[in-house]
């Protein structure tokens, strides 16, 4: 009796936590894109785990079981495979923003081209809410996915990265080793949305959004080094910089105190500091300097770049909302 009475009072329970309203709409409309993104993240994640726990183990086991000195004993083949894997996965993580921008531009451009955006706006949904939800849902998916990817990439990167020729300051690791990956993905989304709204056509929006992200990414990659002050090494220290430090500038100081960048640097082969000093004196050079970013500069540089990308993201998103509100009747 009581159960029957309760059953009639209780609201239908199938309405639970499943997405509703605009969120349902966005998820349903972009289901293929969501599936592609999930597959991309899962495949890359699987690959990274394989690299970390299979390929790297293979290379390391051979190494430790070797009676000779370490350098003779590296399993070159396994190590190279590992290095290739790190390079390729890094590329697939660092450049995924191009794809995001192309998708966002095309999908928004297509909505306006076909008039389906207008269809949504004439339901009980304001254009502003439509865009906000349309950006928020993919933003959540992108943030989750890219966070998983950069954390896994860091796990793969950490051991022995100096053994396969990639350095933290190379374009791909610079992005893939931290939250810059997340920022770039969100930036691609915001830029794509803005371009799609502005051009109102799928194909041109795809091309322009993609092109912008390529240019912006390349430009920022080339200029990331200036986002944090370099460290100056002088004297002998300037001749013996490890690969893990990013070289920025190198020059000599002459007797008159002028820095001459082009002077042939004859003293680089010096075996000791004494030999170096003697050599410098022979050439009438009083000093040598080199500006570098030591590995400790990774985080300052990475976070500064992340800030720049997020600023562009915010600018693109704000402009997109402004454009939408200006074009449609919002009051």
């Amino acid at each position: 009796m009581t159960t029957a009475a309760r059953a009639t009072i209780a609201p239908p329970s199938h309405d639970g936590p499943r997405p509703r309203g605009l969120t349902w709409t966005v998820l349903r409309l972009h289901r293929p894109a969501l599936l592609v993104w999930t597959a991309y993240v899962l495949l890359l994640a699987g690959w990274l785990l394989w690299l970390r726990f299979v390929t790297l183990e293979q290379a390391s086991t051979k190494l430790s079981g070797c009676p000779l000195s370490e350098s003779d004993c590296t399993d070159a083949e396994a190590m190279m495979a590992f290095g290739d894997g790190v390079g390729t996965t890094g590329t697939l993580i660092a450049y995924l923003t191009y794809g995001v921008a192309a998708w966002a531009g095309a999908s928004l451009g297509r909505e306006l081209e076909r008039g389906t955006a207008q269809l949504a706006w004439t339901q009980s949904v304001t254009p502003t809410r439509w865009l906000a939800t349309g950006l928020a849902v993919p933003a959540v998916a992108l943030t989750l996915g890219t966070t998983v990817l950069f954390l896994l990439y860091r796990a793969v990167w950490a051991p022995k990265h100096d053994m396969y020729g990639y350095q933290w300051y190379n374009p791909e690791p610079m992005v893939a080793l931290g939250p810059l990956t997340v920022a770039y993905a969100l930036c691609g989304l915001a830029v794509g949305a803005l371009v799609g709204l502005a051009l109102k056509r799928a194909l041109p929006a795809l091309a322009v959004a993609f092109g912008f992200m390529v240019l912006f990414h390349v430009y920022l990659d080339r200029n990331t080094r200036w986002l944090w002050p370099t460290e100056r090494l002088t004297g002998f220290a300037a001749t013996t910089v490890p690969d893990s430090a990013e070289h920025i500038d190198l020059g000599v100081i002459t007797e008159s105190g002028v820095r001459a960048d082009d002077v042939l640097l004859n003293c680089f082969g010096a075996e000791s500091e004494a030999a170096f000093s003697a050599c410098m004196a022979n050439h009438d050079l009083t000093g040598l300097y080199r500006d570098v970013h030591p590995p400790s500069h990774f985080w300052p540089l990475h976070l500064m770049a992340t800030g720049v990308v997020l600023a562009v993201t915010a600018l693109a998103a704000v402009t997109a909302f402004w454009l939408l509100r200006r074009r449609t009747a919002t009051r």
Binding site: R20, G21, L22, W24, T25, R28, L29, P32, R114, G115, T116, Q118, L119, A120, W121, T122, Q123, S124, V125, T126, R326, R327, T328, A329, T330, R331
Partner: protein, 308 residues
């Protein structure tokens, strides 16, 4: 239901920076609530632009538009709009499209009405929108619009893709539904025959301005088709259009007082009225108001100079 469904004051919309880019210019009109209003005019007259403004999809360049006593944005939940090309998401099924209507119109979605419109066309609910014909798509678009239970239904060329039978049947559904709920319908068309028998209000647009507006029967009554000798004088009547064939002249006039002897008079049909105005863009505009009970009349010819 009384009041105003749609009201525009000096509404203007310019697309692009071209000087000739005015799609609507100095457009002033009023459509009373509860009417079925036909919106006619040649291609490029501004019909779609006017409807898009009423639906809140476009912001006016100048002037203002009010819908159901408020702004289009504030009336969003009470308006339904079907655009000319009947946009729908091609990847959704019919059932998912109706679900979309339910999800995006929480609290005022009438699944029964929407379902009925779809079922009357014998549509398979699991069929993807992209597999439907143009006419079937129109049916789904109309189902989405009617399911919203709007107070104002804006339809841009709604029947263009339908065969005569489907057109007749859908129009019947539409009119019955609007009569039952007192819905105001504004539908554009350049097929005048489509409007005959379904509209009780007419709005004729030309070059972005109102050419003719008012209750259909009063507009027809305000015009007379006259035939007489080509030497005849039609002053002081307003001549909308006249055509001479041989020694005979046929003219559509707005009579001022009794028409002189020697003229054969006829009441024009809707088609004749519209065609005469389309052929004579220089004819003065005419707006007949039906405010309140007195049916006050304003001859636009005297009040507002027509565009030349």
């Amino acid at each position: 239901m009384t009041g105003t469904a749609l009201e525009a004051a000096a509404l203007g919309k310019k697309f692009g920076r071209r000087k000739a880019g005015w799609a609507l210019h100095d457009c002033t009109l009023r459509i009373p609530a509860g009417r079925v209003c036909g919106l006619v005019g040649p291609n490029g007259a501004g019909k779609s632009t006017l409807l898009a403004h009423a639906a809140g999809l476009l912001a006016p360049t100048e002037g203002s538009i009010r819908v159901l006593g408020t702004t289009p944005a504030a009336a969003r939940e009470r308006i339904a709009y079907v655009a000319q090309d009947k946009p729908l998401y091609p990847q959704l099924t019919v059932a998912e499209t109706l679900r979309l209507g339910r999800e995006l119109n929480p609290g005022h979605w009438d699944a029964a009405v929407a379902g009925r419109v779809v079922d009357e066309g014998g549509l398979d609910r699991d069929a993807k929108i992209r597999s439907l014909s143009g006419g079937q798509r129109t049916r789904v678009a109309l189902a989405l619009a009617l399911g919203k239970r709007p107070e104002l239904l804006l339809l841009d060329e709604p029947m263009a893709d339908l065969d005569p039978l489907a057109r007749h049947q859908l129009m019947g559904t539409l009119l019955a539904d609007s009569a039952e709920h007192g819905t105001t319908v504004v539908m554009s068309s350049h097929v005048v025959a489509e409007l005959e028998g379904s509209c009780d209000h007419l709005l004729l647009l030309g070059e972005g301005r109102v050419r003719l507006a008012g209750p259909l029967d009063e507009l027809l009554a305000a015009h007379t088709l006259v035939t007489g000798p080509s030497s005849g004088d039609l002053a002081p009547h307003t001549v909308v259009e006249s055509r001479t064939t041989g020694r005979q002249v046929t003219a559509l006039i707005r009579p001022r007082g009794p028409v002189g002897a020697g003229w054969q008079t006829d009441e024009p049909t809707l088609e004749e009225l519209v065609l005469a105005h389309l052929r004579a863009p220089q004819a003065p505009a005419l707006t007949l108001m039906d405010d309140g009970a007195d049916g006050g009349e304003t001859d636009g010819a005297e009040v507002q100079e027509a565009a030349v």
